[in-house]
Point group: C2
Chain length 474, copies 2
């Protein structure tokens, strides 16, 4: 019943949870501070008391926030009866450290307790050597399942899927299905998933024929055949499908769960949306990091490692900065005659860089979301050229007037205005064509676009401004 | 049964779907091209034939990709029996145009056909005036529900929630619950949601006491009481909760659906993960756009509108670029004596800007994910200072040697090296402290950080390099 008016009105004593309880999306800062102090004081009992009511993801957050020494102390306090679910919620760098600290025996015990998909996830991000050590210490039957998952390529549906699922033969009725679920629950059958959202009707070769959402199963009379209420139009996921495509499919089709099939079309697992949300977050992080010139989120990495990881990108930028300087060097004689040019030239380059970054951001995002395709590419490029030109004219007027007043030279104002129009139009063109071309040759536009873009806007900005100055002012 | 070996082995004639069918995550390019040609040729029947098998989100994609003239032709072809679900999948700009074209009567009919939460979503993004016109044309009872949704603040849980849900009184058994679901389905009760993943046990004042996942309900014998299998620890969502906090909670707790309660704790709706995924995507887009200096995704906006929207950001950048030029202007005399400085000075500023952007990217992301808190802020700032200093030293050596060779002056190489170390260390400091300070004063770090950062790295870069040159070289 969905209407409160339908409810019987006998008084009830049970206290309902208030709207504030249960809804604390973030680890409470006061509690965190108390835990940190208890850890520092070495009061293990107090720490355990403080942590007991926390959700595993909050414990994981706490571990991530701690200084490495305090983190090690906390792991020791939690070692006995360590909740393995914590591992699935941790950042990779922090998790590797904790697994190392737990040691092979304890780490293997923790991993073995996890659901297969979580165990595969945790193991899949480890070094080969550590992975093998821990696998060897896991009981044979769990190990086989984990190894089967690890056998699928990284980032594939096979890696992500849960192998436990509910399938029924096509001649079963709703009643038989419900009885089967009740009986196996009673018998303690642990091949059934803990949570599931749909069941699958399969043929004798275990190929899926259709899916039945649980809400539909619950609303149907016992005598109805499973095939009568199944939805035969499923979104079948091939085991080899890449997780990015998978995330796109889930979003595009608003899916909550979907069946995974092997090469011969047999049902081998299911993927549920909560795992897909993790993929979406991962992709998000990748996009943001790459646009910012960082290979991966290094918040928890050591300083030396972070320095090394960021070095390559900076080196590439040094090369382009030197290239820009070489272009300026071409106009040494011009600069020598008019020092005002040296003062003003960064403005032209900087405005081109910023206008180009705006265009680039929209284009890279549209490519990732498959909104920018060969169908509308020419239209988008044309539009960005126009936008670049328009803003170029506006800023040419603004800058031209400022420079005219500042240096008292109308000619200098005219030169910077003309350079501005040219560089901002070029920026619009480069901001769209660079990511499109990179995508076409198979390079991730998020990684490499911005370095090419700034090279173009710096080189064009300095060259056009100094060349025009040489032509008209000297 | 989860094992293929358990299946009865009688032969089956029904053709199972192959792994490739159904799994086309993107609108097929050939089909899209064919549709575009059919629209251009004015062959309405062929267009309808091509579009009929498509999922609504693919039709929405096609509409988005089309040139505005072709889009209008396609809307006319689809006008009769227009599938309202298409509206929910469209980009806002494109949707507004289509609603305008459909006209008040047809648009109102389409909106009225949608689920309440989708209708509220579509209506909520419209102009006030258009919204009122369309609301007035919607039948009274649908209108009341939509208006109730629109009464909640934008981006709140109240706006997103679905009002249809299944709740049962606490004295019911599993059997009574299932019978109720079957009877109301048979009676065609349309106050029940189409899909749902859990039911709620409520007290007589309609406050939620616990939730029962459908998979648990299905596995329990008929005689068991609902309260015996319910989970009393729910993640209650207050109607006023902001969608960002909501998305964070869903991710943190791996939720699939959650109950929404009003101020007095009564159950008023549910929110399911598919709507939360849309919020996550929206946030993602916002982050990326803001970091790139674009207020919102303007792929489908007109050129003039886009120009205007991007103008403000560029104006701000012009101000900072002029500021940097003023700093250079302080050293006019120095530059006049040594033109090599003009050639080299952009290198120092550019390397600082790039190193700072790397730090900024990691910090802004960590703040958004609540991984960078007051607990670990000092540690992160310290680390980034060290990383900035390390990379500063490495690039000081590299650049110093290059400049020494290029200009044949060891002193000039030394000056640029020293400037590089200082600017890159400052970049590490600014890249962490700027976003942290902005967040503390309540400004979104993603929007404003980068302009402050480049101002700092440009000003410090030019100033330190030219000032050191003035001190040691002249």
């Amino acid at each position: 019943m969905s209407n409160p008016a339908d409810q019987p009105d006998q008084p009830i004593q049970t206290g309902a949870l208030g709207p504030d309880e249960g809804a604390t999306p973030v680890l409470d800062a006061a509690l965190e501070q108390a835990a940190i102090e208890a850890i520092a004081a070495g009061d293990a009992d107090l720490v355990r008391d403080l942590i007991r009511p926390l959700h595993v993801s909050d414990v994981a957050d706490l571990l991530e926030h701690l200084h490495s020494e305090a983190r090690q102390q906390l792991v020791e306090i939690l070692r006995e009866g360590f909740n393995p679910e914590i591992l699935t919620e941790l950042d990779e760098t922090v998790r590797d450290g904790i697994i190392l600290q737990l040691g092979v025996a304890d780490a293997a015990a923790a991993v073995a307790e996890l659901d297969t998909d979580d165990a595969v996830h945790v193991m899949g991000e480890m070094d080969e050597a550590d992975q093998q050590q821990i696998l060897d210490a896991i009981p044979a039957d769990d190990r086989t399942l984990i190894e089967a998952g690890l056998a699928y390529p990284e980032d594939s549906a096979g890696r992500m899927m849960q192998r436990e699922l509910v399938s029924v033969p096509e001649f079963w009725t709703v009643g038989q299905t419900i009885d089967y679920l009740r009986d196996s629950a009673e018998a303690g059958d642990d091949t059934l998933p803990k949570d599931f959202y749909e069941i699958y009707v399969v043929d004798p070769t275990h190929k899926p024929l259709g899916e039945i959402p649980l809400s539909r199963l619950l609303r149907t009379k016992r005598g109805v055949s499973a095939t009568d209420i199944m939805n035969p139009e499923m979104n079948l996921i091939p085991v080899a499908m890449d997780q990015e495509d998978l995330a796109f499919l889930f979003r595009q089709r608003d899916l909550v769960s979907a069946p995974v099939v092997d090469d011969s079309g047999r049902l081998v697992g299911t993927i549920t949306i909560d795992d897909v949300v993790d993929v979406i977050d991962e992709e998000h992080e990748e996009d943001i990091m790459r646009m910012g010139g960082v290979t991966e989120d290094d918040l928890y990495s050591a300083s030396l490692e972070t320095t090394r990881a960021r070095f390559t990108w900076l080196l590439l930028n040094l090369v382009t900065a030197v290239l820009a300087s070489l272009v300026i060097g071409l106009f040494e004689a011009t600069l020598d005659q008019m020092v005002a040019l040296a003062i003003l030239m960064p403005i032209v380059a900087s405005m081109g860089g910023n206008a180009g970054t705006q265009t680039l951001t929209v284009s890279v995002r549209a490519l990732a979301m498959k909104e920018l395709t060969s169908i509308n590419a020419m239209r988008v490029i044309g539009k960005e050229l126009i936008v670049g030109g328009f803003n170029g004219i506006l800023f040419a007027i603004l800058t031209g007037v400022v420079v005219w007043v500042w240096f008292g030279s109308l000619a200098l104002g005219g030169v910077i205005a003309l350079a501005m129009i040219i560089n901002m139009t070029v920026a619009g063109l480069a901001g769209t064509t660079i990511p499109i071309l990179l995508e076409r040759i198979g390079v991730d536009p998020a990684v490499a676009s911005s370095v090419f873009l700034t090279t173009v806007t710096d080189v064009v900005g300095f060259f056009v401004f100094l060349a025009l100055a040489g032509l008209f002012l000297l």
